[in-house]
């Protein structure tokens, strides 16, 4: 892991007296390697290492008796700072029912996460309402309806012939009539380069003015995370990120890339296939695994 590798790099320097700038550069190369292996985007790594370099070339590393530890500490702190040190709660302000919109690439975990979010809110005393707005994927409506039943949350009776913008609008009216206070809208997976589908997402947002537009992203996403996140931010506008499938062994560097490139906070982590596997995001555990 990075800690061992840095110890290895600086170990060879024992007995040479003080660390030189070249020694620190060698350590920074290990940091860069670790981040790239963790799927952090190339440019994000470049900028990140640049920020760390400034502190790393200061007395706290150069004059330290444990330079490897010091460097790791700086990197870890910078990671936490970038990922978002203060937890960003879900925004449930505004008139009831509060609409929350889930968007993202195909297969990232939106439908499952919609149900997880509904359960999370229900347990907190809210009255959520689920809306299946994916009319394209075979049995997608079925999938959310089944999950809704499982978590004991009412769900809009979407017909496959309806269009997603109308579904969202009508569902909001229906939720209000039923006295629900949060509406969670699940949308179809879409490519950020699919103009029509990105326009649809923007149209749904326009129609219901969601309090949150949450990008649901897979923890195993690679370098392309920056392209898709930037695109969703530009074409739809995001207020938060939910990172899914975090309980696997993916290092999760995409989280750093997405956060860096959009400035949008990570709010939750999907940590399993079960419907209660949703956690509020705290940066330090993710920071540790990104470093490896």
């Amino acid at each position: 892991n990075l800690s061992d590798r840095l110890e290895g790099v600086f170990q060879k320097l024992r007995g040479k007296g003080k660390l030189t700038k070249e020694d620190v550069e060698r350590g920074l190369r290990e940091v860069r390697l670790a981040l790239l292996e963790a799927d952090v985007n190339y440019r994000v790594v470049k900028n990140f290492v640049e920020r760390v370099r400034e502190r790393a070339l200061g007395a706290e590393v150069l004059e330290s008796l444990t330079p490897a530890q010091q460097l790791i500490k700086i990197v870890h702190e910078e990671l936490i700072r970038t990922l978002g040190e203060t937890p960003a709660p879900l925004d449930l302000g505004g008139p009831r029912p509060v609409p929350l919109l889930l968007v993202g690439l195909q297969g990232s975990g939106k439908t499952t996460t919609a149900a997880k979010l509904a359960l999370f809110l229900r347990k907190k005393g809210h009255r959520p309402y689920l809306v299946p707005a994916d009319v394209y994927r075979p049995a997608a409506i079925d999938q959310l309806k089944t999950l809704a039943e499982k978590v004991g949350v009412p769900v809009y009776d979407t017909q496959p012939s309806e269009n997603p913008v109308d579904i969202a609008r009508k569902a909001l009216v229906e939720a209000k009539a039923q006295g629900r206070d949060v509406v969670i809208i699940d949308t179809a997976g879409r490519l950020h380069v699919d103009e029509a589908m990105m326009a649809e997402a923007a149209a749904i947002k326009e129609a219901v003015s969601p309090r949150e537009v949450l990008l649901v992203a897979d923890a195993m996403t690679g370098q392309d995370a920056v392209n898709m996140a930037r695109s969703f931010q530009e074409k739809v506008g995001l207020t938060g990120v939910i990172l899914t499938k975090v309980e696997g062994d993916a290092r999760g560097g995409a989280a750093l890339s997405i956060r860096e490139v959009t400035g949008v906070p990570i709010k939750f982590l999907g940590t399993g296939e079960k419907i209660d596997a949703l956690e509020v995001f705290y940066p330090d555990r993710l920071a540790s695994r990104i470093l490896g």
Partner: protein, 277 residues
């Protein structure tokens, strides 16, 4: 026309960024760029066109793997679709079914994802659209039992190819990997040598975790080939190079969309050209 420039440090950095952002992986990229870096250090001149050509050839060499015919030559030929959650297994199975039917094969599908909400319905719907039958049981049934029933039905009906859909599973989950091993064992009991092909489905947007996926799935069951999905996005799918090379798995097809026809045979030259224009 473009003047053929000489490789310099700046160009090597550009190239490094290109290859890494394609998800090829820093270790593989370093190995690919090592010869040119050394040349630069020794002051030996190298043309950009020469370097690009040799890199393309090297990647093509990594992708040049023995590729048995598809479908496998068995009757019925039993094919498993496996992989982590959400990569496109079910949709890909439907596309492969369509492809096989176009070629004149009779196809039967087995809905062995008995866990996820509406997984069976999803496959059944695809079966209606493409025109293949789906052997299924109730949600929550033992997936091994569905495999058993499916393969028995295939034999009884003299079907050419059986396509088995499995539940998405993280390679790090012991119980789920054991469940997969059991499904494979059951298949072998019903049809000799089955499954004849285990396809690991990889999502082109995946980063270096694909290596761990291939490694751990490969430790649980024999892996025979890859299908790389979602190549219609902007991800370059470079991880497929490392996975194909390290585990000697030919890439059979690429997924290029969400419709039944959106499957194309993997073309190494086109793939490498798109990677390094």
């Amino acid at each position: 026309f473009e003047v053929d420039r000489l490789v310099d440090q700046a160009f090597l950095e550009e190239l490094e960024e290109l290859l890494i952002t394609a998800d090829i992986g820093i270790e593989t990229v370093n190995r690919l760029l090592e010869p040119s870096r050394r040349k630069l250090l020794l002051g030996e001149p190298l043309k950009v066109s020469e370097l690009k050509r040799s890199l393309r050839e090297e990647i093509l060499r990594m992708l040049d793997l023995p590729t048995p015919p598809f479908p496998p030559e068995a009757s019925p030929a039993v094919v498993f679709f496996i992989g982590v959650n959400g990569v496109g297994k079910t949709t890909t199975l439907a596309k492969v079914a369509w492809h096989l039917k176009e070629r004149g094969f009779s196809v039967l599908a087995v809905a062995a994802d008995t866990f996820r909400a509406a997984a069976i319905e999803q496959l059944v719907t695809w079966g209606e659209r493409v025109g293949f039958e789906v052997i299924r049981q109730a949600q929550g049934a033992d997936p091994g039992a569905v495999v058993y029933q499916g393969l028995e039905a295939a034999k009884a009906r003299g079907v050419d190819v059986v396509l088995v859909d499995t539940a998405g599973r993280l390679h790090t989950k012991y119980n789920l990997m054991e469940e997969l091993k059991k499904m494979v064992r059951v298949a072998g009991k019903v049809v000799p040598e089955a499954p004849h092909e285990n396809i690991l489905v990889l999502d082109a947007t995946t980063g270096q975790n694909a290596v761990s996926q291939a490694k751990l799935f490969g430790q649980a069951v024999r892996l025979d080939s890859l299908i790389l999905t979602k190549m219609d996005g902007t991800a370059k799918g470079g991880i497929a190079i490392t996975v194909a090379h390290l585990f000697r798995l030919p890439i059979r097809f690429v997924g290029l969309g969400e419709k039944m026809e959106d499957l194309a045979p993997f073309e190494p030259r086109a793939f490498v050209q798109a990677l390094m224009p």
